[in-house]
Amino acid sequence: MAWTWFHRLASPPYVYALAARLTPWFAWPAALLIVAGLYGGLVVAPPDYQQGEGYRILYVHVPSAWMSLMVYTTMAVAAGIGLIWRMKVAHAVAASCAALGATFTFCALVTGSLWGAPMWGTYWEWDPRLTFELVLLFQFLGYMGLRAAIEDVQRADRVSAVLAVVGIVNVPIIHYSVEWWNSLHQTASVMKLSKPSMPPEMLIPLLMTGLGFTLLFGALLLVRLRAEVLSRERAASWIREAVAGEAVRA
C-alpha cells in the first residue's frame, strides 16, 4: 500500500534504523559536493568585474542563507505535523533542526557582514533582509530556550511546535524583503528560472555548495534525529536490541 511507508515513518524504531542506514548516503555526497563546490568557487570561477576576488564569499554566504530558511521551514513543517497528527517522530525532527538552523543563520549573518564590509563600506546595515535574518536567529534561539525551559518533553515538544509554526511568517518576509523594500541586497539572481544572471562558471560551484550544504543538513539531521528519538523512548523494548549490539560510534 502506498501509505505504509508513511505510517512506518511514525514508528520510532523504524526511523532510528533507517536514519542510521541513510546517514552515509547524505554525508559522503555532502562532503564531496562541498569540497568540489568550494574549490570551484575559489579557484575555477573567474573574478567578478565589479567585486574582484572579494565576491567569493558568496560560496559560503548564500548556501548558509538558503539553509537558514530551509531549516526553519523544515522545523516548522515537522512541528506542524507533530501537532496535527501527534507524531513523536515529527517533534523529534523539529528538535533536531534547531541548533543547526541557528548555526546556518549565524554563518549567513557573519559572512554577510564580512562581505558587506569591503563592498558596502559597513559591517552592518539595518536593511530589511539583514534585520529579519537577525530576527530569524532570535527565533531559533527562542525556540531552543523555550524547549529547555519546559521539563516535560511531550509538553516542550508541543508548546515549542506552536512557536515554530507561528514564527514561519518570517521566512517569506526574508525571502521577499529585497522585492518589497529598497534594499542594499541584490534581487534574486539565481532563483530566476528563466535566465540566471550569473555565468555558468560562477553558478555551478554555487549550486554545488548549495546542494552540498543541503545534504549536510540532511546527514546531521539524521544523526540528531536518532539521538532525539532515543531520548523520547524511555521504556520501549526495542531500545534494548538497538543499543546493545551497537559499538560506540555514530
Binding site: 554566504h61 548555526t103 554563518c107 564580512l114 546531521l220 531520548s231 521504556a235 546493545a244
Partner: protein, 53 residues
C-alpha cells in the same frame, strides 16, 4: 599561489568567512555525534538498570 591567498586584497574577509563557516560545520558534526553517543549511553544505562531491577 600568493595571488590565491591574497584574494585580490580581500584576503582577510574571504578567508575569515570560509574559516568561520568551516569551523561551524565541524562543530556541528562534533555536537551531533556527541548528542547521539550521549543518548545511546543513556539508553544503555536505562536498559541495564531495568535488567538489574
Amino acid at each position: 599561489m600568493m595571488e590565491f591567498l591574497e584574494m585580490g586584497g580581500y584576503a582577510r574577509y574571504v578567508w575569515s568567512s570560509y574559516a568561520i563557516v568551516l569551523v561551524a560545520i565541524v562543530l556541528n558534526i562534533v555536537w551531533a555525534r556527541r548528542a547521539l553517543k550521549r543518548a545511546q549511553a543513556e539508553a544503555r544505562r536505562r536498559v541495564t538498570m531495568r535488567d538489574a531491577a
